[in-house]
């Protein structure tokens, strides 16, 4: 899923300081799963914003809404009857949400309330780790299902670099060296020879380097 973190409250307050009436729109997709933009988080942020505004002696009206997803025009349409009844709309979805909203309702102003970070999963309750860089050409089968493009700090296809120590990356003792894990898995499986193969420079055109990307499924296109 897409993993995001909530923006600091003061940053959000600064964004909306000139507005008295806002809409806060949550998403039942990834951000609900990573506990950042679901129903509960919408309620918590709405309360925090109201309380914060009260301290300034003013009133903030917050309309709380939930959409099934904010990455699908069908659900974005559900705001058509109410989007312009407020001064601004804040999305609690990943970076896709505010953009789909903005494209659908050009006359309204939209703000993000989360920082969208990566594709990953929960490694334990409350902790999410990156797993995929969305490079567009998956190579994890070369590395026993572990991705050095996303998980090596230098995206090395021939790792580990000289900075790998005790299974940790040179950038921080908190960061796993994925190459250490890849090598140990190969050693355990008696297939270290796999890592003697040369991998050609990667074609980054399928990644963001090739410009904004589009995916087309012909059979679904009407």
């Amino acid at each position: 899923m897409i993993v995001a973190d909530r923006k600091p409250l003061d940053e959000i307050q600064e964004m909306i300081k000139d507005y008295d009436k806002i809409m806060l729109v949550g998403c039942k997709g990834c951000v609900t799963v990573c506990n950042v933009g679901g129903l509960k988080e919408v309620q918590i942020l709405a309360s925090a914003l109201r309380i914060g505004r009260k301290k300034d002696g003013r009133t903030l009206h917050v309309e709380e809404r939930m959409l099934e997803r904010q990455c699908d025009p069908e659900y974005i349409e559900q705001l058509r009857d109410s989007y312009d009844s407020v001064d601004a709309v804040l999305s609690m979805a990943c970076g896709v949400g505010p953009q789909f909203l903005s494209e659908t309702y050009p006359s309204q102003r939209f703000y993000p309330t989360v920082n969208t970070k990566f594709f990953g999963g929960a490694v334990q309750h409350g902790i999410w780790d990156e797993r995929c860089a969305g490079c567009g050409t998956c190579v994890i089968h070369y590395f026993d299902g572990l991705c050095p493009i996303a998980r090596c700090s230098k995206s090395l296809q021939h790792g580990p670099c000289g900075g790998s120590a005790d299974g940790k990356c040179e950038i921080s003792k908190e960061t796993e060296c994925i190459w250490d894990t890849i090598v140990k898995k190969k050693v355990d499986q008696g297939r270290l020879e796999d890592l003697r193969l040369y991998r050609a420079p990667k074609d980054w055109r399928t990644a963001r380097d090739g410009g904004p990307r589009r995916s087309i499924r012909e059979e679904l296109v009407k």
Binding site: S153, K154, S155, L156, Q157, H158, G159, P160, C161, G162, G163, S164, A165, D166, G167, E170, I171, S172, C177, D180, V183, K184, V187, L192, L195, R196, Y198, R199, A200, P201, K202, W204
Partner: protein, 313 residues
């Protein structure tokens, strides 16, 4: 390969091919456009070493470009070993810099991934890592030997470079270190310079493995030596420099002498190492990284008995 039989004809290549025990040095470019400062650091190395490594924004701290500093050395009649990292350049800049370096008379190049920018003085920067160090070696070799860019387009005049790579015998996981060295040699590394060695026991094992795997017959391995200036430096390296193996005995040995004598004790240890490397099977030379101690290199070279440096025509 050129008509002379040399790949680049660099002094380092000639010394190694003639079978001499090579001795290379290192010089970090200044944090400014100060040519005078660079000269102060490089001049002590004249006639003391076969080539001088010019570091490329080492530890991700911005300095004068390694290509420019290397070119200044060429102009001054010194031989640089131009270091290039993959952190700051994509394949377009890399190939362009290889051609530029060759055009400027630079004949050695050391291919590195590069320290992550997190260490340096611009941790906010974006990194590149379009290709990695092993791919960089292969690219340099393809350009030189096949006269082709990565995309197979022809180069009108191929670069003349002697291709080097680094090896850290002490990085983890240890099982893979000699294999990664083998990958670098397969990719085209003509010579190898190792990370600073302090744990001689582990280095002996690493070299034995390299010899047993037949690697030492395919490349020239230069053992990395950095004299400790003090017990404090040894402690710091042991604790904070990733991939560095500094045994407790060495720290104890340095602590065991008066503070004023610790630098001398560090040099003594380095000299003992160099003596052993001269005899060690598969070791073709020493790479002396006297960090911010360039002015001590003549003394160390003299005491190590590696002078005068051979002249090979």
């Amino acid at each position: 390969m050129s008509d002379s039989g040399y790949k680049s004809g660099s002094n380092l290549e000639k010394v190694l091919k003639a079978g001499h025990f090579a001795f290379t040095g290192e010089c970090g470019p200044p944090k400014g456009a100060n040519v005078g400062h660079l000269k102060e650091k490089m001049e002590p190395l004249r006639d003391m070493v076969d080539a001088i490594n010019v570091t490329d924004n080492q530890t991700a701290v911005v300095r004068m470009s390694s290509k420019a500093a290397s070119a200044l050395m060429v102009m001054a009649g010194l031989e640089p070993n131009f270091q290039m990292v993959c952190r700051d350049r994509n394949r377009i800049a890399i190939q362009s810099d290889i051609l530029g370096a060759s055009a400027l008379g630079i004949r050695n190049m050391l291919c590195l991934s590069g320290d992550h920018q997190q260490f340096g003085n611009h941790p906010e920067s974006k990194n590149v890592f379009d290709i990695d160090s092993i791919q960089l070696i292969a690219v340099a070799k393809k350009m030189r030997d096949e006269g082709k860019f990565i995309n197979d387009e022809a180069i009108d005049e191929p670069p003349k470079i002697f291709i080097g790579a680094a090896s850290n015998p002490f990085g983890d996981p240890w099982q893979f270190r000699a294999h990664r060295l083998a990958n670098k040699i397969d990719a085209g590394a003509d010579f190898i310079q190792t990370q600073c060695i302090y744990n001689m026991e582990r280095f002996r094992e690493f070299m034995k493995q390299a010899v047993d795997m037949g690697l030492t017959g395919k490349t020239h391995i230069l053992a990395g030596v950095t004299p400790m200036k003090s017990a404090g430096m040894a402690n710091y390296m042991a604790k904070f420099v990733p991939g560095m193996d500094v045994p407790q005995e060495l720290i104890k040995r340095l602590k065991g002498v008066d503070k004023k004598m610790q630098a001398e004790e560090g040099i003594k240890f380095a000299l003992e190492q160099i003596e052993e490397f001269k005899q060690m099977e598969g070791v073709a030379g020493v790479h002396l990284m006297a960090i911010e101690w360039e002015h001590r290199v003549p003394e160390i070279a003299e005491r190590a008995g590696v002078l005068p440096r051979p002249k090979v025509d």
